[in-house]
């Protein structure tokens, strides 16, 4: 394998890892955002009629 390819693969890997960390933060906070919409009332509503 050429050093240039090794550099490219490493750069791709680092980018993938950062993207996954970003995805983790987005997914984690998307759930939180869902809960925030409508505040406590919405949570109570969801509790009454849970999603399938």
């Amino acid at each position: 394998m050429r050093p240039a390819i090794a550099r490219l693969v490493a750069a791709g890997l680092i980018a993938a890892v950062i993207l996954l960390a970003l995805l983790f933060a987005v997914v984690q906070n998307r759930d939180a955002a869902d809960l925030d919409v409508g505040g406590v009332e919405n949570v109570v509503k969801r509790g009454a009629a849970p999603r399938a």
Partner: protein, 438 residues
């Protein structure tokens, strides 16, 4: 990329991405805001990358074979810098946005798990700085290796303690075994590399039987196996890590090309130029000295190109040893495929093994092109630095179909690679050995 190479690359990718995927899947603790969670994601990612570094340097021969271990070490170096950058991202977000949560810096007042995180960051930063600037810092190679291993292990254990101590993302019942398994797995890798392998070498000692001078101050060290059958099967042009002394546990090993051909039996020769901290004392090694070997490794071999119509070798200085091993092997096998060697040296006296190369021309189809930076007055050969025009002038008509094997100082191999590609040799046909990584 071959299927084997793809398999190991995917396995490695999985190793790095698995901890983050596990964080994403399964039960997750409540969110703490995008930047906080992004910072944590970066921290876990950096930890996984740092831990996987141990796998890259564990020298599993099957895993190294498709790539070449020199490239894996190069990869190890780049990924370490990337992992440190990600780790700094984790720290910077917390420092800028959540400074209160980090608490005091004084370890006597700070929470122990936060101090562990700071120790990990410090160790990993020192690993990179001491590796990238070893020569400028005046660090002797042997001392650097001790420091490198110690800092990496302390940094890794501190990072594990940091993650375990904070515990927020790993306390879920399904995730604890994963982290415990991953931690033990990586500790096992360290144990294998630093204890298991040397232990195996201990039962397979070698003895220096000759240490002879060559042109240009180079030395040829000849080793014979003691109480075992030798290295087993290896390909011409491969190299091994050599330890001279009573113990293989001391981290005093150095990689050298096996200059002899596999066809010449279990006795091995190493061509060594006294250039560095360790090699400068190579002339003092007496016959009878004990030695240990870890190998063979490397991909600089004609055996990886069985269908090639011939070969191009470009060597600089002591970088001629892998070419010599391949040529010796071709001569021993009666391989009549044509080979051309561009042998670049500062001057005529520096051309080690030039007599043997000359003799090999009688036993095989070898064209020898000496390239001297400072030639003697009556020199009629090539002079100056190897370049595109010189290659074009000397290469045979079928050169683009021949694999090119380059070994020497990085500026030479880079120039040769660029020139060969410009002349039409496909990049995939050009192999090079990377030395002097630190």
């Amino acid at each position: 990329m071959s299927a084997r190479a793809a398999f190991w690359a995917i396995l490695y990718l999985g190793l790095i991405l698995l901890p983050l995927l596990v964080l994403l899947l399964g039960e997750r603790p409540p969110a703490r805001g995008f930047w906080w969670d992004f910072s944590m994601g970066l921290g876990f990612a950096a930890m996984a990358m740092m831990a996987a570094q141990f796998a890259l340097t564990a020298r599993f021969r099957r895993a190294t074979f498709p790539f070449g271990i020199d490239v894996l070490y190069y990869f190890h170096r780049i990924l370490a810098i990337g992992a440190l950058a990600i780790l700094l991202g984790h720290w910077t977000i917390l420092f800028v946005g959540f400074r209160d949560a980090m608490g005091p810096i004084n370890p006597l007042e700070a929470r122990w798990e936060i101090t562990a995180g700071r120790v990990a960051l410090g160790c990993f930063a020192l690993v990179i700085v001491t590796s990238e600037f070893r020569k400028r810092l005046g660090l002797e190679y042997g001392l650097w290796r001790y420091l490198h291993v110690a800092l990496a292990i302390v940094g890794f254990l501190a990072a594990v303690a940091h993650i375990g101590g904070v515990g927020y993302y790993t306390d879920a019942p399904g995730k604890q075994p994963l982290w415990l398994g991953a931690t033990l797995g990586f500790l096992g890798l360290i144990g294998w590399t630093r204890i298991g392998k040397p232990w195996r070498q201990l039962s397979q000692p070698w003895e220096v039987v000759a240490n002879r001078p060559e042109h240009g101050g180079a030395r040829t060290l000849t080793l014979e196996p003691r109480g075992h059958s030798g290295l087993g099967r290896w390909q011409p042009g491969q190299f091994a890590w050599l330890t001279l002394g009573s113990s293989p546990f001391l981290l005093r090993e150095h990689p050298f090309t096996i200059a002899s051909a596999p066809e010449s039996g279990p006795r091995l020769e190493f061509g060594i130029q006294p250039l560095g901290d360790f090699t400068s004392r190579i002339g003092e090694v007496e016959p009878g000295a004990r030695a240990f070997l870890d190998g063979p490794y490397g991909v600089f071999s004609i055996d990886r190109h069985p269908g090639a119509p011939g070969f191009i070798f470009v060597s600089g200085g002591i970088g001629v040893t892998p070419a010599l091993a391949n040529l010796r092997s071709m001569a021993a096998r009666g391989d009549r495929r044509p080979a051309i060697l561009f042998y670049c040296n500062p001057d005529w006296e520096s051309a080690a093994y030039r007599d043997e190369l000359e003799a090999l021309r009688d036993r095989m189809d070898l064209t020898l092109v000496h390239v001297l930076e400072s030639p003697p007055r009556d020199w009629s050969g090539e002079s100056g630095l190897l370049d595109r025009d010189m290659l074009k002038r000397r290469l045979p008509p079928d050169f683009a179909a021949r694999p090119a094997l380059l070994c020497g100082p990085p500026p030479l191999t880079a120039a040769a690679r660029a020139a060969l590609e410009e002349l039409g040799v496909p990049p995939a046909m050009i192999e090079s050995e990377l030395f002097e990584l630190v």
